[in-house]
Subunit: 337 residues, 2 copies
Amino acid sequence: MKHVTIKEVAKKLNVSVSSVSKAFNDRNDIKKETKELILKVGKEMGYHPNPIAKKLSQQKTFNIGVIVPEFVNAFFPEVIIGIQDVFLKRDYQVLIMQSNESYETELKNVQTLEGNMVDGLIVSLSRETHNLEYFKSLINQGYPIVFFNRYNEDLHASKVIFDDFKWMFFATEHLIKQGFEKIFHLSAYQHLLLAKNRIRGYKKAMSKYKIEIEPDWIVETGLFLEEGDAAMQKLIDENNIPEGITCGNDMVAIGAMRTIKRNGLHIPEDIAVTGFTETPLVELVDPPLTSVIQPTHDMGETAAKLLLKQIENDSPIPETVILNGILNVRASSMKKE
Amino acid sequence: MKHVTIKEVAKKLNVSVSSVSKAFNDRNDIKKETKELILKVGKEMGYHPNPIAKKLSQQKTFNIGVIVPEFVNAFFPEVIIGIQDVFLKRDYQVLIMQSNESYETELKNVQTLEGNMVDGLIVSLSRETHNLEYFKSLINQGYPIVFFNRYNEDLHASKVIFDDFKWMFFATEHLIKQGFEKIFHLSAYQHLLLAKNRIRGYKKAMSKYKIEIEPDWIVETGLFLEEGDAAMQKLIDENNIPEGITCGNDMVAIGAMRTIKRNGLHIPEDIAVTGFTETPLVELVDPPLTSVIQPTHDMGETAAKLLLKQIENDSPIPETVILNGILNVRASSMKKE
DNA sequence: CTGTTAGCGCCTTCAA
DNA sequence: TTGAAGGCGCTAACAG
């Protein structure tokens, strides 16, 4: 892996390294013909400026880093595409790392990315992240960083988030308006801020319509299909059967639906169901699942633009952008006449 | 973003930079007590060796790069998890980039990754990649690189692939054995090698059982749901209705199923369906979809191990690993008694 | 316009 | 055991 260096090009042409540098950086304090000659010969020799060396002597890399907890669910990939769409256009490269929902891995991710001198970071916190010191110190040093989706209120940084409270309120209110009363809430990872906000939305809707919530109406699950199955099966086994459920995510909702049907119950007649963070699956299941669309692509774009602003104007005032969704009502939650 | 440098640590302690360097690289040509002192004070000062500088003077980064065409479908994310599982264990960091199925972006990805001096590359080619020169020159220079899933036969490099021929053969044969004869093949991106191999598998099965294929039995589609819809609808509109279809991917199969049902036809009685590259969806659709499991995680692990071998032993002999799958037969393809 | 030189932060001989 | 010095490849003053 031997690279042609600036020196070799210089020697070959009997010019100085700085001339070569100037030529390749397209500057104008160099005669046009020499520039062209250098460019031509340099390329022939297969010369590419070594970005590492460039980084070391400059302070800018035109790389930015993105850290997400996982990307098996479509949510994060879609956000990342939004991020890329704005950065690629501006000739930034986007490096992605996956924390696997582990705090330790996340920390290492941050460090290698920062160590690689990315110009800024976009991150969605891992489920496990408890210690925020490293992020805080980065932020204090003025390092450009924006959070999305999973953030923490103690972090004094820009973030783009979804109004989980409001949309879970709407989802719950929708079920109530359909005439359901005994509505349960299946919540994924309750310690996450977004889950807490969704619970608040659920509670708010219930209290608005004066429906008293029993403590066991809020059920903790994870993020996956099987966990929806298990939660639902448990309710059925205990003969504690709701008229409706609002779920913190589509997979859990779909798992619950599967279990409801397996037990001979009907959707929505016996139990109405809503999901959250709409995935393409909602149209494929039977009946089609009511869910809340999150503007994933937009979330990525917005985060990217916030970061860009920080990088380019280094404006240090953190901004928070709250994105809106859409409640997509489908058969899984509509009371039949 | 001011970093503490080796110099500052040295000055503070009145030692030389090389001593600090030695301490932080845990070498033994330094007295134990001084090493410990340096480490202690250095950490207190918040000193981290700057990886960029390190890279420049050493030749190893303990970073590896992965380039995939997309990761909205679960396939690539799952492979990446396999890759990470082997590298994280060995303290390598994995940087991921997405080519968006674009050759240009892919090329830039390779260049920034290589420019960041990753120790090696794992790549799955974009749909558009036609020009292989850059890859070839990297390979010629002995740069460690392994391909998976989407590769090109002109590339003299290690690769881990799936036996598309064999498993599409099995899928097709399975339909034939169920008693279907007029079997069509919906193929995604026919110019991709893997699609060609699947077509070969389909043809081989048909010819083995002496079923003559009409030219219009092989239909080109893309990768997504809607393309499955469209292809199926077209067949129905033309009243060219197959008894069975083998699809190049699950999404297309599911789209086709949706359209079949919408048109009042039944699966598998009227049309039997098989998918490929099994996704979690297969269990969710009605009827459950027969598909071929690809060992995604294993594919990632295998690719990672091949790369590691190249990096550490720099053995230049390219290896090809062909992975096996499983045909998971479900209701979508079983003739009812 | 061109070339010389001093860094960027770190590692690695090589003397002392 | 220590430290001085050169080098990794490039850029950015600064003279000429």
